[in-house]
Each structure stands twice: as C-alpha cells, then as structure tokens.
Symmetry: C2
Subunit: 246 residues, 2 copies
DNA sequence: CGACACATTGAAATTGCTCAACACGAGTGG
DNA sequence: CCACTCGTGTTGAGCAATTTCAATGTGTCG
C-alpha cells in the first residue's frame, strides 16, 4: 500500500530533486505528504477558480492542467501548463485569494497537501521546503520567459518556443523521448497560451510542419529537428531548470 | 545615524507591512538588514545582468528600476517595474544564475542584503521572512497580470492598465496623490513593457489624452478619471495587494 | 550653437484577426 | 447501422490593428 502511493509520488520526488539533493528521509516525507488524500479530476473541469481561497495545496501526480486568467468579455490567457510533479496553490497566506484559475486539460490525479503539513515543512524537512520554494521560483522564471514570448516574438517564434518548452519539460520528467510525447493540447489551447487566434495558430503550425520541424496530430507531438526549431524560436534553455539540453 | 538609515528604509518597512503585521522588533530587524551597506546607481545603468549570479539581494530605497529580458537581435521586454520598497535578487539558491537583467531608470539607492543576513531571517525573524516571501508571490501575481495584458488586451487597454497599476503602486507607498506622480518613464519604456512599438504607444497615449483620461508629460503622470480609465483597461485591482482602491 | 534624447506625424506595408464555410472523426441516440 | 452533433482542424477572402520607415519638432544640456 505504502509502496503503491510512493510510486504515485515519484514525479513529485523526481521533480523536487532537481532543485535540492533529497535524502531518503526527505523522499519519505514527500511521499507521506501526498499520501493522505488524492483526488481525481475529469478532463475539462476547473480545479480552482480565481477569487477563491485555496483550501489545500496541490501536486500533480498524472495528467496535464493549466492555469489561466480570463477577462470579463471572455478573452482568456493561459499562464502556464502544469505537468506531473508540479505543485500549485502553495499559499503562504491562507487568507489570500487565488489570482488565477486552474483547469484540468486531461484527467488529472492530484495529491492534496494539507496546510498543517505544509506549515510543518520548514521546520521538519527544510530541504523539502526549500525545494518547493525553488520550484515556485522556477515557475516564475518560466512566466517571465512567457512574457518575453508574447511580448516580443512573432507568431512562428512564439509557437516554436512553446513547443520546445513543453517538449523539454516533459522529457525532464521522463514523459518524452525521441519518439515524441503525448500532447493533449489543442490548437485553441496553443492560441490561448500564446496570445494568438486559433486560426493563426493553425496556419503557423502548418508552416512548422511544412519545414519538417514538427509532427503534431492525434494528441501526439514530435520534434523533428530541435536544433533548427530552437534557432527559429530564439530558444535559450537556461530559464528551465533542465540541465541536459540535447 | 541609526535614525537616519531607519528613515531610508521606511519604504521597505511600509511595503512589507502590507503583507504581514510587523512588530517594532521586526521593523528594527529590517532596518538593521539594510543598514549595513547601501549603494547608489546612476540612471540608465545595469544593476544586474542576466546570467550572472547575484552576490547580494537588493531592496530599492528610492528611485525606479525595471527588470527585463532581451533577445539576441535586440528586442527587449520589460518584465516589471521596481519601486521603493521592492526587493529583488532574493535568491534562495546562490548557485542559480539570474534569469533576467535589472536596470536603473532613475538614480536609484539600494540596500544590499547580505546572504548571511538573509539566511538567518527564517529563524530569527520569521514574520519578516514571510513578508519577503509574500512580496515575491505578489510580484508573481503582477507578472501573471502582465502576461494577460500583453497576450489579450488591445493597445489602449494595455496602456491604460499599465498606467493604472503604476499609479496605484505608487500611491500605496505614498508617492502618488490626486495631483499625480513623478513618472520617469519614457514612451519607449512603455512600449517595451507592453510589447508595442514606441510609435504606436505615442498614438495610443494621445488617444488617452484626447479623452481627458490622463496627463502625461515632463516626467509627470496624472490620472484624470480613474473610473473611466479602469473601465477601458478592464482593470481589477485584486491582483495588486492594494486594498484601498479609489 | 550643436548634439542628443524624446515626442510627434504621415504614409505604406504587413502581421495577425475576423468571419464564414467546410472537412473530418468520435461519440450518441434513434 | 445511420443520422446527427460536437469538437477540432483547415481554408479563403477581406479587414484592421499595429508595425515600419522616414521625417520633423522640441527641449535640455554642455
């Protein structure tokens, strides 16, 4: 039983281990953290809504989610994708309202991290706590890169950049290989993430395909020429905490 | 002497007090924190460069700065403005390279927070530490709003939104009144912050002026009709930790 | 005065958007 | 099994927001 839930929390352990070298004790602490209560959300449902107060923090165990903001007239911006091992709603101040919503893109399994557990972390398992804070900082770095992306890059650069990021992040958690990755993201999602329209994303995707840079169909993405795609995207992997580039 | 530096650190104390109720002891701790070493940077110089490792953390005492990223071909995105009381380079992991540059927009006075001091904070002054972490989270919230801004809003909405944010943030630290605020930001800066061209910012500023929404000249900004400007910007102050709206 | 940074203007070019239609596959209910 | 719908992807044509290029104005400062 315990070993089973440990298996479920491997993505989180693996992810946090990128930021701080974890001891076996730390790993056990993380497993205990997410062991208590896990929930499953169906695809295309909201996990958290902007304006609510987060009851618990969440760690993604499996599946894809995204956080987003919307405008009163329906325009929507995806602010980031959440993959297995990512923690969100980690609120240091329980009174504060969430400033963005979170939605499940696929069926998502989540570990719920209770506030009492989280509060005990800095004292009881300082390395785990530090790793969580560093993951938050890494997320902020991704956010800054996204702002650069939508603010300055052209459509094809933006799209190329986003696809590379998602490829590398998936590869870093063992979910992508040379053969590509499961990619449950529609062109409309790409549009909402890049600030383009779905129609224009479509045409841009086709341009990438025509140049034999990617395959992207049936929920599957394959990067055919990472080097050339990186050139187009003006991609610099430093902002991702993914050492082994290429 | 001590009272003098205390005065210099008022912005930081006032800013952190927004996140956590500080005791007199906490305030003294903050004053001591920034007391050790202060530096002055001339306008239009870099304070930190992307790719470097931060030697110390910084708190802005007076003046404006911004952090930004640039692309190899010269395009540049401003990622946020730093005002008195804002802390940056607060690196939990001293090995990690900065992922963005910081530049002084005016002459800037900075307090240097030594790593040893910062490391002692969680144990010695947990409320101060928590306030610093909450400020970091608040900065991330601003970043998310900026991504929504550049990704989804039109030129006039974007500009209106940015101007309101800067007005409210300045007012929250006592640097803006009904009469407006010192605004050492050129139209080119606004362009780099919103992902527009300087020419288009110029035309959009003029549209705002024509509608009697703002005055903006000679390094001074005045919001003439905050309510109407907020409507245009689809502005919702919740993301800023500034309670007293209007 | 000259140099320089910043603001402003106009005209033409272009990127990306809007609108509208159609294709296609998966799932659903008759 | 078919008809239907729905979500997603694709295409075309016209349009609009924003960019580009190039020039001019304006104030400050040495």
């Amino acid at each position: 039983m315990l070993s089973l839930s440990c298996a479920a929390l491997q993505p989180l352990i693996r992810n946090l281990d990128r930021y701080v070298a974890l001891t076996p004790d730390d790993r056990a602490a993380i497993a205990a953290l997410g062991d208590r209560s896990q929930v499953e959300k169906p695809a295309h449902t909201d996990i958290a809504r902007e304006g609510e107060r987060a009851r618990v923090a969440h760690a993604v165990i499996s599946g894809w989610a995204c956080c987003y903001k919307d405008l009163p007239d329906g325009r929507r911006q995806i602010l980031g994708f959440l993959l297995p091992g990512d923690v969100f709603d980690l609120n240091l101040d329980s009174l504060r309202e969430q400033d963005c919503s979170v939605s499940a893109l696929t069926r998502v399994r989540l570990a719920e991290l209770l506030p009492s557990q989280v509060r005990a972390l800095p004292d009881d398992h300082p390395r785990v706590w530090k790793a969580l804070l560093l993951q938050q900082q890494a997320n902020a770095a991704i956010l800054r890169e996204w702002l650069l992306n939508t603010g300055q890059r052209t459509a094809i650069e933006r799209l190329a950049h986003l696809l590379i990021e998602l490829f590398l992040r998936n590869r870093a958690i063992g979910l992508a290989s040379r053969e590509g990755l499961k990619f449950p993201i529609t062109q409309s999602h790409l549009a909402e993430a890049t600030g383009l329209t779905p129609v224009h994303v479509n045409r841009t995707v086709q341009a990438l395909r025509r140049q034999d840079l990617i395959e992207y169909a049936n929920g599957h993405l394959k990067i055919l020429d990472l080097a050339r795609l990186s050139d187009i995207a003006l991609f610099d992997a430093k902002y991702l905490c993914v050492e082994e580039y290429q």
